[in-house]
């Protein structure tokens, strides 16, 4: 590519000084795909076991009825919708890092975007299951899809749930395409080294990539086009998800701030999840040379920014509840802080607002263990944020006589846990099958392979 000739320092690239040659990149990254170690197998077995829990719980729910959850009236939505929003949120930073930062030419994204994109695809796959798990009659869920049918009925386009169907399917299609497209040159690189069955597989999915100028040209155009297409989705998908709540009249849901608040929250949780995932990958596969503390510093800064936006949203919600003078709204938010579910709210505030304050310190941002711990806190906090929104708003609504309490059941917990295993299952497979770091983009920042150097080495 044309800019490969530019001085890496001028481009502000973050390649490790130890890596000097394109071969090094291929060697270091593709070794990840070699025969897995015990650690990988242990994790993979754990995830597979979790999948058994996941499908057993879901199967039990289908067999017995949705009553195996702790849901009731008035709390008709609980852990499932919480987890749905959580995973949709996680899915956001992948596209943000790969598409938006690509368009803005933020070079630090190169080392992490492949993992982030994979995370996006798998997180959407996980999130997409939850509406199906949640509905009372799974076997009729396809009625939400508009298609000409013998019932002469369209879905209700006024319903945010129908918007959700479009948002999620669109996002999955675009992010999966984007992810796949960006991987093609690297699959080709892997194909060139692979043998046996694996080689056959790579041959098919690399779609005949040979690295010709013309192919690179088309690739670049397609990539930038898809990046441009994916960018508005980052903003729109979570806005639509937020409208599931904001369009209703439930006190605590019916708020105009929800769309930006949810998007910020999604990026926040997504970046935190990238940190959570990349730290072990870096360690296990010895990719310290590629995933440097500078990358982590950049991600930590993004976390800090979004945590402040989210914190602002929390405060403005409380402020508006008070300022509106509307008693029912006030009661809802008072109840959020000091009611039955006070603990969930305080977990949310602590994890999302107070813990990330530490990111102001450079030492913390450059400490990978510290970042790992903080990212876990943020993940927990963001799950509880959605739990607080969903459950505390519903359990005390307009009609005091109908107030109620919701306690998640074991089945719901099994499915929540299982969803992490479902996600991990795919992610672990990904680390074995596709290069988890973008080889071709890393190579762009290295000095071009001059004939002289090549000769000297050979």
């Amino acid at each position: 590519m044309s800019n490969a000739t530019k001085d890496p320092i001028v481009r502000g690239a973050l390649a490790h000084p130890d890596v000097t040659r394109l071969d090094d990149v291929n060697r270091d990254v593709l070794k990840v795909l070699a025969t897995p170690g015990k650690g990988w197998w242990a994790l993979f077995s754990l995830a597979s076991l979790g999948l058994v829990v996941f499908f057993t719980s879901w199967g039990w729910q289908l067999y017995r009825g949705i009553g195996v959850t702790g849901l009731n009236a008035p709390v008709g939505w609980g852990v499932y919708i919480t987890t749905f929003v959580f995973w949709v949120g996680i899915a956001h930073s992948g596209t943000l890092i790969s598409a938006i930062l690509f368009l803005f030419r933020a070079p630090w994204r190169q080392a992490i975007y492949r993992a982030a994109e994979a995370m996006t695809v798998f997180a959407v796959m996980t999130a997409g299951l939850f509406p199906l798990i949640h509905v009372g009659r799974l076997w009729h869920a396809y009625w939400l899809i508009p298609y000409p049918n013998s019932r002469f009925l369209w879905p209700n386009f006024k319903s945010p749930l129908v918007w959700d169907v479009f948002a999620i399917t669109t996002y999955f299609t675009v992010s999966a395409t984007f992810f796949y497209l960006g991987t093609i040159p690297d699959i080709a690189a892997a194909r060139d080294r692979a043998t046996g069955l694996r080689k056959k597989l790579y041959q098919v999915i690399s779609m005949g990539w040979r690295g010709t100028d013309q192919q690179w040209h088309h690739f670049g155009k397609a990539y930038i086009f898809l990046a441009a297409l994916a960018t508005p989705l980052v903003l729109s998908v979570h806005s639509v998800v937020s409208w599931d709540f904001a369009v209703s009249i439930v006190p605590g849901w019916h708020t105009t701030i929800f769309a930006p608040y949810f998007v910020a929250g999604a990026i926040y949780s997504g970046v935190a999840m990238v940190i959570t995932l990349v730290v072990p990958i870096r360690k296990v596969f010895g990719l310290e040379a590629y995933l440097t503390t500078k990358h982590f510093d950049a991600m930590a800064k993004l976390c800090l920014l979004t945590s402040m936006i989210v914190g602002y949203a929390y405060m403005s919600e409380f402020f508006m509840a008070w300022y509106s003078g509307e008693e029912i709204e006030r009661t809802a938010f008072w109840n959020r802080l000091f009611g039955t579910y006070w603990w969930a709210t305080w977990i949310m505030l602590t994890c999302n607002m107070f813990v990330p304050i530490m990111l102001w310190f450079k030492r913390v941002r450059y400490s990978i263990p510290a970042l790992f711990v903080i990212s876990i806190f943020v993940n927990i906090g963001m799950w509880f944020e959605r739990y607080v929104i969903v459950v505390t708003s519903l359990h005390h609504e307009y009609e005091p006589f109908a107030w109620g309490i919701y306690r998640p059941s074991l089945t719901e917990m099994g499915i929540l846990l299982g969803s992490f295993c479902w996600f991990s299952f795919w992610f672990l497979l990904f680390t074995r099958l596709l290069p988890p770091i973008a080889i071709q983009e890393l190579k762009e920042v290295l000095p071009p392979p001059m004939r002289k150097q090549k000769e000297a080495h050979s």
Partner: protein, 1005 residues
């Protein structure tokens, strides 16, 4: 055209293959057989109605029964019945579940050693006759029964030289005795509540128990309605605990348990210029000054004096003496004291009548005590129990179980297993009253016929007790002039028939059709003067067995009565009108008392009396005195049926086996108890979230003084905040000025979103909260009509109760420490059928949508179960099928009760009130068939309206200005819940409760 298949051949082949496909398609072909000869009166799909008499309790209300294809599917109140006049209580509805109770015996049961074997009727009857011949000494213990059955039993018992004991678990014996002593009356007094201007209830829970709860409920609603002159009757409740009846009072005098006599006499002393007005009771009147009464009752002397003055001046007034819950050791005296009060206030003959001879359960417990001692002494050979369950309903201390076992041969007529039948040697399962002939005489001038409405439920080989007695008599060689009970009964009525009014056959048929006949008996000279008591009476506070520091109040349950209704899942799941708790028992305790002892709601406590102990969770209730705790009857069955067993505790375990003198009633208020926490806790199976309205405009009220200018009062008093918000909602721009709405409700919003477009009706409902007593009859009626499942205790605890009607009980003001105003708001919350329904736009699949008739419809088949509609419903009236409740909870043959006009819902779908859409369609279809005539107003009656004894619910087309609903809604008291806040434009209109005290802050303090 010789080749190929001809069209006709093709069709033949198609027919054959189609049929074979059908045959092979089902692995187990269902045996559905059509009628060989179709019965004439049955048209498939069209209901047949019969009149009969409710056999549920001693009130004997008139009943209409709807049958479909030969099955009784719904019972309703018969408006032509002179006593109940339409309306039916929850227990009445639930009698259907006793009809289809899967725990009924499948045939006569004969004991062989430890187990019971099913025999034939012939065998059983011969066995009974043989035992009577061999052992003799027959004792017939019978509960309430109709006059013909009673005559038959008398004749039967007389023919075998036996004895007959009348036994009622819940009995008004002290009242009957008091009426006999003071006025020489033969039955219970009848009350004209509707015309009283001031009603005092001295712990009488007349809308729950007593001679006619439905009629009294109606009377109370009529009394408290605001009349044309702008006044309404006032209801004052005097007692230690607020029952459902008490919650409807305008004032509460939380008097000490057992102080009713002192208070009534103290008031009478104020009213009577000279004690001589009390005739033979003059001395008593002199002894009980208001000061003495105040001392005894624990309320101020001024309040008693002031109440007495009002009682005299606001004539006609009415006072009712303590009922079953107040049967203490001086209960007859207390009832006499109240009669003296009525007497000196001049109410006798105006609001209280002693000449009607109201027949209701009033058997003397003392008779049972002697029966027990006779049995214990081995003097009883054959003990026959009919219509009673003394092994459960007598206190354990009575020793009935041990004594009954002493009888040589024990016979039970129970149709399903109960604690007494479990001890019997022979069980002769009686028919349910809907399968059998009978009659009733609720008042001396009313005769009502109970006719079978269907063939006996075929699962159970039952036989009417009357027929069994007649058949046994044949074996014994006796002849009562009839071989069937029907003939016996008809003969009796024929003898009584007065030929001057027409031939017997005509009046018999008329009685069957209308359900009841009124006879002019001529007024038996009602004694106008009080008669002297023949025994010494004490009007002082009764003695209590010392068991602790808290007085125990045991009262009949509004749901289970004395426990005979406990095996009905509808009633088990019906939230108690007071506590809103389902299924299990609870101990009511004042919050102050609980706090002193460190007891929290849900703590399981051990209640110990000198006679026994029970363990029960505490429910904190501000409507009970601090020195008392209360426990309802009806729980703790050990051997009754799958729903009753193990549900709750039996309060009678704490009571002594002792009868009040002179009436011989069982004591219910006889002991004090100790309450000690066990350290365990449990979740209460309640449907209540909060009993506080939190200042929300849900059940507002208006002071009587403010009537006539309700709207001004609201504008003045803190209503501005809602006015402001009206500027923001809905599809129609709200006319506003300076941010405040100028017109609300919006013009035309009553007619729904289709106000302009066409002339279809908009179905609407008006519910008068001033009439609603919270009795919960509508809840069960709706459940029966709409195939609403019950979910069980566990599910209720999780918040999954499914009743379409939720009666919200908000406590505004309740003070158990002094006499004063009482303000409790009852609000039946159903789907509001909003014109701007928040549930509709959020459903992704149009499972809920608006019909052109303004009904918010729910299409069960279309529902996917996202539950978004329920989240977005501000009224929280949508309920979800979390499991296959109907399949899993309803055993054969209870499913025979299902209404074939209403879909059975499966799991995973949402449901809610449909305004009884099937009834709307039924009337519409009928009108269409009758030359497309217009539908008359009032022709469509939803199940809740039909059942409401208070007539608080009116349904109709609100677009028709002359309809009843439009008329009612034009009241200034009309409001719509949360409409001002959310602009939902509901079709259900509520009329504010009218209070005597001032209402602060715009009607919702």
């Amino acid at each position: 055209m010789t080749d190929g298949i001809k069209r006709r051949d093709f069709l033949k082949v198609l027919g054959v293959t189609g049929a074979s496909a059908t045959l092979t398609g089902c692995s187990e072909p269902e045996r559905l057989l059509p009628y060989v000869v179709a019965p004439e009166e049955i048209t498939p799909g069209v209901a047949t109605w019969y009149t009969t008499v409710c056999g549920g309790c001693s009130a004997q209300c008139g009943m209409w029964v709807r049958t479909r294809e030969g099955r009784a599917v719904k019972v309703e109140g018969n408006p032509n019945h002179p006593v109940s006049r339409g309306g039916l209580c929850s227990k009445g509805h639930a009698t259907l579940q006793h009809l289809y109770n899967p725990d009924r015996f499948h045939g006569p049961m004969i004991r062989e050693g430890d187990r019971l074997r099913q025999g034939t009727w012939d065998e059983a009857e011969q066995l009974l006759a043989a035992q009577i011949t061999a052992t003799g000494n027959v004792m017939f213990i019978g509960g309430r029964m109709g006059p013909s059955m009673s005559n038959l039993v008398d004749e039967f018992v007389a023919a075998v030289n036996g004895t007959r004991i009348e036994y009622d678990a819940v009995s008004d014996a002290p009242l009957r005795e008091a009426a006999r002593i003071t006025y020489g009356a033969t039955g219970l007094p009848s009350y004209d509540i509707a015309n009283a201007r001031l009603l005092l209830s001295f712990g009488n829970d007349f809308i729950e128990t007593g001679s006619s709860p439905v009629a009294h409920n109606k009377g109370l609603a009529q009394m408290s309605a605001v009349d044309a002159a702008g006044s309404k009757g006032r209801f004052v409740y005097l007692g230690p605990r607020l029952s459902t009846t008490g919650l409807n009072a305008d004032e509460w005098y939380p008097i000490r348990p057992g102080s009713e006599a002192a208070v009534a006499l103290g008031m009478a002393a104020v009213i009577a210029d000279d004690a001589g007005a009390a005739g033979p009771y003059a001395d008593v009147l002199r002894a009980y000054s208001p000061a003495v009464a105040a001392q005894a009752a624990g309320v101020s002397e001024d309040s008693i004096r002031e109440l007495a003055e009002r009682f005299a001046s606001e004539s006609p007034t009415l006072a009712m003496g303590p009922g079953v819950g107040g049967h203490h050791r001086n209960a007859t005296a207390a009832n006499i004291a109240v009669m003296i009060l009525n007497h000196v206030a001049g109410n006798v003959g105006r609001t209280v009548h002693y000449d009607a001879a109201v027949s209701a359960a009033a058997g003397a417990y003392a008779d049972m005590e002697s029966a027990v001692s006779a049995m214990a002494a081995g003097q009883v050979g054959v003990a026959i129990v009919h219509g009673a369950n003394p092994a459960y309903s007598m206190p354990a201390a009575s020793g009935f179980v041990e004594a009954f076992s002493q009888a040589a041969f024990k016979v039970s007529f129970a149709s399903a297993m109960d604690e007494t039948a479990a001890l019997a040697d022979l069980i002769l399962p009686d028919r349910h009253f809907l399968e059998a002939w009978g009659d009733s005489m609720p008042r001396s001038d009313v005769v009502a016929l109970q006719q079978p409405v269907m063939q006996p439920v075929p699962h159970f080989d039952s036989k009417s007790a009357g027929d069994v007695l007649l058949a046994t008599s044949v074996h014994l060689g006796n002849d009562f002039g009839a071989t069937t009970f029907y003939d016996f009964m008809r003969n009796g009525h024929m003898e009584m028939h007065d030929d001057s009014v027409g031939d017997f056959e005509t009046s018999w048929r008329l009685a069957l059709r209308t359900g009841a006949v009124e006879h002019d008996m001529g007024t038996t000279a009602a004694p106008s003067q009080l008669q002297a008591p023949e025994v010494a009476l004490s009007f002082d506070a009764p003695a209590l067995d010392l068991g602790g520091d808290l007085t125990l109040l045991v009262h009949p349950s509004p749901r289970f009565g004395g426990g005979e209704f406990s095996n009905s899942p509808w009633l088990q799941e019906l939230p108690d009108p007071v506590s809103k708790i389902t299924w299990h028992s609870w101990l009511e305790m004042n919050g102050t008392t609980a706090e002193e002892r460190g007891i929290r709601e849900g703590d399981i406590v051990r209640v110990t009396s000198p006679h026994g102990e029970v363990e029960v969770p505490v429910w904190i209730y501000p409507g009970i005195r601090e020195d008392a705790v209360a426990l309802a009857m009806g729980g703790g069955h050990t051997n009754m049926g799958r729903w009753a067993n193990g549900s709750g505790v039996n309060a009678l375990a704490l009571l002594p086996s002792e009868s009040e003198q002179p009436s011989g009633a069982m004591l219910t208020l006889a002991t004090s108890v100790t309450v000690t926490p066990t350290g365990e806790r449990r979740r209460i199976a309640t449907i209540e979230g909060s009993s506080d309205q939190h200042d929300r405009p849900i059940a507002p009220a208006v002071a009587l003084a403010d009537l006539g200018h309700v709207e001004e009062a609201e504008h003045d008093e803190g209503h501005a905040e809602f006015q402001e918000l009206q500027g923001v909602g809905g599809f129609v721009p709200v006319p506003s000025e300076g941010g405040a709405a100028t017109a609300f409700p919006l013009e035309g919003s009553r007619h729904g979103p289709y106000a302009e477009s066409h002339d279809l009706p908009r179905w609407a409902m008006a519910i008068d909260l001033d009439k609603c007593t919270g009795c919960s009859a509508c809840v069960t009626a709706c459940q029966a009509e709409n195939n609403v499942p019950w979910v069980g205790e566990e599910q209720v605890m999780m918040g999954r109760d499914m009743n379409w009607v939720r009666i919200e009980r908000y406590i505004e003001h309740m003070d158990a420490t002094q006499a004063g105003d009482l303000d409790v708001r009852m609000l039946p919350m159903i789907c509001q059928h909003c014109a701007n329904a928040p549930c509709e736009p959020v459903c992704p699949v149009f499972a809920t949508y608006h019909t052109p008739e303004g009904v918010n419809a729910q299409i069960y088949n279309r529902c996917v179960g996202t539950r978004y509609c329920a989240n977005n419903c501000p009224y929280k009236v949508r309920v979800f099928n979390w499991y296959r409740y109907m399949d899993e909870n309803v055993p054969e043959p209870m499913n025979w009760q299902w209404n074939p006009d209403v879909t059975i819902r499966t799991n995973g779908i949402m449901e809610k009130c449909s305004f009884c859409m099937q009834r709307i369609r039924d009337v519409e279809n009928r009108a269409a068939l009758e030359d497309g005539r217009a539908i008359n107003d009032g022709e469509i009656v939803p199940a809740c309206e039909q059942s409401c004894p208070a007539e608080a619910i009116v349904f109709g087309n609100i677009r028709d200005e002359n309809s009843r609903v439009s008329q009612v809604v034009s009241s200034e008291r009309t409001y719509r819940v949360l409409d001002e806040l959310l602009n939902t434009q509901p079709a259900v209109h509520y009329l504010r409760k009218v209070t005597f005290h001032e209402i602060a802050s715009g009607g919702h303090d």
